[in-house]
Symmetry: C2
Subunit: 178 residues, 2 copies
Amino acid sequence: MSSGTITLYIAASVDGFIATEDGGVSWLEEFQEEMEDGEGGFEAFFASVDCLLIGSKTYEQVLGFGEWPYGQKPTYVVTRRDLPRTNEAVELFDGPVDELVERLKREYEHVWLVGGAQLAQTVLRSDQLDRLHLSLVPVLLGRGIPLFDDAGEPHDLTLLDTITRDTGIVEMQYDVGP
Amino acid sequence: MSSGTITLYIAASVDGFIATEDGGVSWLEEFQEEMEDGEGGFEAFFASVDCLLIGSKTYEQVLGFGEWPYGQKPTYVVTRRDLPRTNEAVELFDGPVDELVERLKREYEHVWLVGGAQLAQTVLRSDQLDRLHLSLVPVLLGRGIPLFDDAGEPHDLTLLDTITRDTGIVEMQYDVGP
């Protein structure tokens, strides 16, 4: 029996892309700082999580930013490749995602599903996603990597909270139902 | 020189679909009433528009609802087919959409772009969309007809207003920039 919560905490453009076609997120930069601080900001969220689950492309992207920003929090990278482990808290996982999620929810109280889209969709499809924190960035990207693709089943959402930021970001926190 | 405003006022699921794959919108029904009334509701919006622009599939769908709900407001249906005109305020248009929009913005103060997705994307791509009123319905549909597909150019948005409704709908009103 798992008891932990897994939250997809992610930013997307209003047209639903999490990155440009080549994985670029520079369009997010001007909004980054505002999303960090204050009530309901990322810092408070990050303090609440005790484990990270991340896809291989997103992991590589974070590595490319330079210093690993997530300290020593246990981090599970879903990948079939032999990626560099940036510190000893990072573990590579090549197996069934649903079993890993089941295990993480048993072992940890709050798991942050960092992304990317493919991993998020996998967790959603196996009905294991508990929370969605979506930061809707006031941009239409036009094309890119979609957060949600066209291959899932319906889920009811319950809105728990909304935050509107000065730059026009609207953050919505949902409970993900069956 | 056009001076009118054209607003895409539309509801979508959190994963960005405006209808199920077969065009169904029954998942919207339980939210409909709440979106109608009160401050910032659809009724007030509808009172402010003096012209409707609608795609052929959406038009047919509205016809299927029974009585035409939009009274005698001038309505332009973009279609190549010989669809029934539900009343004399309805005009069928088979020509370049950008020229029609240019004309409507010259002749009317506030045009409601009813949908669907294809027409909305066409207007957006020709840089003619002024406003976006997006009602984000707390549902993940999983699959369906996407509001935004993967074929546009970037646009900046300016958030003008946000309304959070009791059922968890979040409505965002944006100014659409270049």
